[in-house]
């Protein structure tokens, strides 16, 4: 099979060299741990502990009765100092459980290990995955058990592991592919078992040849698994674009991957499924990349949830200069942080620190209609038109021109020579329309 890809998109410098050769290290937290009750898409969790309680590593401390939600576990043992709102990476104040680490790491086993997972039924597996609190770890944080239970009547024929890691700078998925190769293949086997007759794909961009090699070797004996080599292009890892690249199917507007027979899971998510089913461990930590030109020693870390981002940066040697921009996630879709006093959560795939020079905000100038935004938009939208519609408050026309289909990949803003805030206004337009819809 040749190289697979989608139409349009951009080729930013991938900057993965900064951290890609650094093996994953464990970060031992020093300070208090902060567990936001929102670490996923769906209903916030309710705290299950109160001030003064002692909690153990692996103890469930947050849960919601809603279907679309995922429980939260303590990543250390210690005492609950407080249950109160704290700053979240998304910039909002969110209810958090603050735990003082007693550094004993006394663990409670709430789940049962199943090395013989072949014997488990689909519903048993889904229950384990739900119980473990697993969500999509590429950043979106959609609860995994929901993705794995498509509505009745939807026939799933393709399971895709999203290992494209198309965001520049980030290398944690790449390190996982190299260091947890067999665990990831096992994780994929668990999902394949849930959907008899499906085909598994491991999608990796060509800028990670050793990962492609490793995964090919590890999956060689599994008949229905294929490592697909993807063109290195952003946003190769965007769900709709990835499905199109591999299966040739265009996800219709407003539909879910299951509607075209696909389930897409991030590398870390697959690893955590393995960890939950085979080792009986709930989700309490993740691997992330600390990188950027403003970081002394870029590296890949396994970090316990709740660890402060300032500790994470310290572990990477700190800043090379007074930083001006710290981003949770990658440079294309990540969120700029206003404080480092926020915790690592399930969706934190990287901490990117950019220098003053890189973070310089350029002034917008008028659109010259060069059409670059249109030529890069992987959804085939007209970003400059959508931009002017939002600026004029013409939301109806924005919807008519499919503004709601924008995936916020930011290719348009990246490419715009007039430095117009195209993605930002599309995001704003979508948000306003969603709010208005809810009001009705």
């Amino acid at each position: 099979m040749g190289l697979l890809t989608f139409k349009k998109g951009i080729h930013p410098s991938d900057k993965k060299d900064l951290s890609m050769h650094k093996a994953i290290q464990d970060l031992i937290p020093k300070g208090n741990l902060v567990f936001p009750m929102v670490q996923h898409i769906g209903a916030p969790c309710d705290p299950l502990v109160k001030k003064g309680d002692r909690v153990l590593l692996g103890q469930k401390i947050g849960e919601s009765k809603a279907f679309v939600s995922a429980p939260i576990y303590s990543s250390v043992s210690g005492t609950v100092l407080d249950v109160s709102p704290r700053l979240h990476t998304n910039g909002a104040m969110v209810m958090c459980i603050i735990v003082e680490n007693d550094n004993i790491y006394e663990e409670v086993l709430t789940m049962v290990p199943h090395s013989d997972y072949e014997k488990l039924s689909k519903s048993e597996l889904v229950t384990i995955i739900k119980e473990a609190g697993i969500v999509g770890m590429g950043g979106a944080g959609f609860p995994t058990h929901i993705k794995l239970t498509p509505p009745e009547g939807k026939v799933i024929d393709s399971i895709i592991i999203n290992a494209a890691e198309c965001e520049p700078y980030l290398t944690c998925d790449y390190r996982m592919l190299l260091e947890k190769t067999n665990e990831i293949v096992e994780g994929l086997k668990i999902i394949l078992q849930m959907f008899p007759g499906v085909k598994g794909y491991i999608a990796i961009e060509t800028n990670k040849p050793d990962a492609i090699e490793a995964m090919k070797k590890a999956s060689a004996n599994i008949k229905n698994v294929q490592v697909t080599e993807m063109v290195t292009k952003y946003p190769q890892g965007a769900e709709k674009q990835l499905i199109y690249a591999i299966t040739g199917r265009e996800l219709p507007s407003g539909k879910l991957p299951a509607d075209v027979g696909c389930i897409v899971q991030n590398v870390d998510t697959i690893f955590e499924i393995y960890n939950a089913v085979v080792n009986g461990k709930p989700l309490t930590e993740r691997v992330l990349t600390v990188t950027g030109e403003a970081i002394k020693e870029p590296l890949n870390l396994r970090v316990k949830f709740g660890t402060s981002i300032s500790e994470v940066i310290e572990a990477a040697g700190g800043f090379t200069e007074d930083p001006v921009k710290v981003i949770s996630g990658g440079p294309m879709m990540g969120t700029a942080l206003r404080s480092l006093d926020v915790p690592v959560i399930k969706g934190t795939s990287g901490i990117l620190c950019l220098t003053k020079e890189q973070a310089k905000l350029e002034e917008e100038s008028s659109c010259i209609r060069c059409g670059k935004c249109m030529s890069v938009c992987p959804m085939f939208l007209n970003p400059t038109k959508l931009n002017s519609l939002v600026l004029r408050g013409e939301y109806e026309e924005f919807e008519k021109l499919h503004g709601m289909d924008c995936i916020e990949c930011a290719c348009c803003s990246y490419a715009c020579p007039a430095k117009r805030h195209l993605t930002q206004t599309c995001r704003e337009g979508k948000r306003t329309i969603n709010i208005n819809r809810r009001k009705k």
């Binding site: 139409k7 951009i10 930013p12 709709k240 199109y244 265009e250 996800l251 219709p252 507007s253 407003g254 930083p323 001006v324 921009k325 710290v326 981003i327 440079p331 294309m332 879709m333 990540g334 969120t335 700029a336 942080l337 206003r338 404080s339 990117l352 950019l354 890189q358 973070a359 905000l361 350029e362 100038s365 008028s366 010259i368 209609r369 060069c370 059409g371 670059k372 249109m374 992987p378 959804m379 085939f380 939208l381 007209n382 400059t384 021109l401 499919h402 289909d405 916020e408 930011a410 803003s413 990246y414 490419a415 715009c416 020579p417 007039a418 430095k419 805030h421 993605t423 930002q424 995001r427």
Partner: protein, 306 residues
């Protein structure tokens, strides 16, 4: 304090100024060819035209208390293109008027860069041609008056320059339009730098080629298509003016339609119209259809449900 802004946090190095700089670089071969064939007067006309465009933009923005944007170099491009559309023998006040008309009436009155509905340089040429037709059609080579190839084709008279003269640029005509080779070098540079794509120029030149071949000046299938495309302002029009971002369609399909439309109008004017040359009017007229073309060539959305 940390900088907080909406993603993306990295941007490409492209800029409006960079694009305009590339267009200026692409116009340099034709500038030199113009000066070589038409002498220092061509240089002076070009200089006055460029300076008056910059001055007009700065002055207008100063008087209306707007940000002065001459740094984006778009006024320089307009100035060069106006000069390229003038005979070298024009009095020097003519490019100055052209520059002020292009920048203030055609560009700034409509909202400045990116907002004008016609190419400022072309609209200025049309304005000057209508106002001072004698100056605007007084073509000379080496101080001797020389009709353009297209005028000779239309009305006869002088001996037609050879195809080679047309290709090199040694013929009567406007400062920047005569040297096909210089314009092709510039056009090639724009293609290489991905400032333009081949859609518009190919559709434009291709349709003129085919139409003049078929329709012919002496009846069906009598056209010398190669000579026709190397005459007049077609090359500069196809590579530098029909590709003007602001006044041409944004979609590739639209650009092909636009190019074919320009080719059709150019051929009709050249063969059957009152003027011997039709490039500027063809592009000006097609520019008015741009919103319409853009609307009807809007791409299908990924996953669009009809």
């Amino acid at each position: 304090m940390y900088t907080v802004s909406s993603s993306p946090h990295i941007k490409s190095n492209d800029s409006v100024q960079g694009i305009m700089r590339d267009v200026i670089i692409a116009l340099i071969p034709a500038t030199f060819a113009g000066i070589y064939f038409f002498g220092m007067k061509a240089f002076l006309v070009t200089l006055v035209s460029v300076l008056s465009c910059i001055a007009a933009e700065a002055l207008w923005q100063k008087l209306t208390h707007r940000k002065i944007t001459i740094g984006d170099l778009s006024a320089v491009v307009t100035g060069l293109l106006i000069a390229f559309n003038l005979p070298a023998a024009v009095p020097l006040w003519l490019p100055a008027i052209g520059g002020f008309f292009a920048i203030i009436i055609v560009k700034q009155f409509f909202g400045g860069i990116g907002q004008n509905i016609m190419n400022p340089a072309l609209a200025a040429r049309a304005f000057l041609l209508a106002s001072w037709p004698v100056h605007m059609t007084n073509f000379t080579v080496d101080g001797v008056s020389a009709a353009t190839s297209l005028a000779i084709l239309k009305t006869g008279g002088d001996k037609l320059p050879s195809l080679m003269s047309n290709f090199i640029g040694n013929q009567g005509g406007c400062i920047g339009e005569t040297s096909v080779i210089a314009l092709l070098i510039g056009g090639g540079y724009l293609l290489y730098k991905k400032i333009i794509t081949l859609h518009t120029p190919l559709a434009y030149i291709g349709s003129v080629f085919i139409l003049t071949l078929i329709l012919g000046r002496d009846g069906l299938m009598t056209g010398n298509a190669i000579y026709e495309i190397c005459s007049g302002g077609l090359m500069i029009g196809a590579f530098f003016m029909a590709t003007d971002y602001t006044t041409s369609p944004m979609t590739k399909r639209g650009q092909v339609i636009f190019g074919v439309g320009c080719g059709l109008l150019t051929t009709i004017i050249r063969l059957y119209g009152g003027y011997s040359e039709g490039v500027s009017y063809a592009i000006l007229i097609m520019s008015l259809f741009v919103p319409f073309i853009d609307k009807f060539t809007a791409p299908r959305i990924f996953g669009e449900v009809k």
